[in-house]
């Protein structure tokens, strides 16, 4: 079969809703695009555990402590599952999990912008678990129908667990919202801090790069940035307003005719700065990841049965 015939058969398969498996023929570009998307997700799960990890010893009460601990363990577990999917995709390119880690630590590979911000109060933990995980569920929910079969399958488990995190976060937020004036203020401050990163979460609106178009055509991605941001606002803005919290945007309102949420554009320069690796906590958290990776080399060697040849 010629490459052109292969490509046509591949595209027909996707157009017919069939999934691509790791051992199927696929265009080099499909492999690279899918790998990049999947690795960004895996890196984000791994890095996302760090801000919450800081709160395990400080969480108020045993129940909350266990819940945060379980969430951190879930995120690391998700990273493990997704890196495994990435390994099969990357094998023909000669890349391994060690390469993924090196690229993450060196800043070459990306992770989600939200994980470059500090979580200074307990209310931040609630807002992260409710709204950041809520935003993640919007993007991951859209990816459940991705054309890459192994990723879609593993996302079912991941989405189910993210939905639990969201409830855990909402519970923290509602508890604080029903608390003292100080607690409500702490919650409002946390929301105000996270509002811009949450709007950044889905990326700039209407980016129509040829790269994205190709990814949508091949079913690697399924929704546009703005579609997902609208879905997020549709789901969460009313719930935020209902409990007396105010997003720091006087322009936020739902157009009664079109049903589209109007909002003030966040500062996209800040977004690009964070993407380039210059977020408030990017370097510190990557440094922590590097330390963990290097300090635990002996563990990897022990479990892999790496021999020391004197």
């Amino acid at each position: 079969m010629t490459d052109q015939a292969r490509l046509e058969a591949f595209e027909a398969k996707i157009a017919g809703g069939e999934k691509i498996e790791s051992d199927d023929w696929m265009p080099e570009l499909y492999r690279k695009q899918a790998l990049r998307l999947i690795l960004t997700h895996a890196n984000s799960e791994l890095m996302g555990a760090l801000p919450e990890r800081e709160w395990i010893p400080r969480a108020p009460g045993m129940h909350r402590k266990l819940a945060v601990l379980a969430k951190v363990q879930d995120e690391i577990g998700h990273a493990q599952l997704i890196y495994r999917v990435a390994e099969d995709l990357a094998r023909p390119l000669g890349l391994t999990r060690d390469d993924f880690m090196q690229d993450l630590i060196s800043g070459k590979a990306k992770f989600h912008n939200v994980f470059s911000y500090p979580a200074p109060t307990w209310a931040d933990v609630g807002v992260i678990a409710w709204l950041v995980d809520g935003a993640a569920l919007v993007t991951q929910g859209a990816l459940l129908r991705t054309s890459y079969g192994p990723y879609g399958r593993i996302l079912r488990r991941i989405c189910a667990e993210e939905a639990i995190h969201l409830k855990h976060g909402e519970d923290i937020v509602l508890t604080l919202a029903a608390g003292t004036a100080d607690q409500r203020q702490m919650l409002q401050d946390a929301l105000s801090r996270w509002w811009e990163p949450l709007l950044h979460f889905f990326g700039p609106p209407d980016e129509v790069s040829p790269n994205t178009e190709q990814m949508v055509r091949w079913g690697i991605r399924l929704k546009s940035n703005e579609e997902m941001r609208q879905e997020f606002l549709q789901n969460y803005a009313p719930k935020i307003l209902e409990i007396g919290l105010l997003p720091p945007d006087p322009g936020l309102r739902k157009d009664p005719v079109s049903g589209v949420w109007q909002y003030t554009q966040p500062n996209w320069d800040v977004f690009w700065k964070v993407v380039r690796g210059d977020g408030p906590k990017t370097k510190e958290r990557l440094e922590l990841r590097r330390m963990a990776y290097e300090d635990q080399l002996w563990v990897r060697q022990a479990v892999r049965g790496t021999h020391h040849v004197a």
């Binding site: 199927d24 493990q80 495994r84 049965g305 020391h308």
Partner: protein
């Protein structure tokens, strides 16, 4: 000091949600040996007690068919193998009832 790396094995993981249920493929994992693999499988796939039992199978030990084109299989008439191919029995019974003296 030099290291002689031993490559990890990829295992496919299967789990049973309850007694009497089939084992279903859950995903895969890399591990140095089955013992480590089972430990990791429990952490990755049953943190909430989703399964009562796990199987680990070395991926390279799995014998598989070629993946056939779905349209090609379903394009062939196989109604004689399917229950729906015999729905006509309802009508035949009714017809018999009518001609009965």
């Amino acid at each position: 000091m030099s290291h002689e790396p031993v490559e990890e094995t990829v295992y496919e993981v299967f789990g049973q949600t309850d007694r009497g249920e089939p084992y279903v493929q859950l995903g895969s994992l890399p591990a140095a040996d089955p013992e480590m693999g089972l430990m990791l499988a429990r952490e990755l796939f049953s943190r909430r007690g989703e399964v009562i039992s796990l199987w680990l199978v070395e991926r390279q030990e799995i014998h598989a068919t070629e993946r056939l084109d779905g349209d090609l299989i379903r394009g062939t008439d196989r109604t004689y193998r399917m229950g729906e191919g015999y729905r006509v029995t309802v009508e035949k019974r009714q017809r018999l009832r009518r001609v009965k003296p």
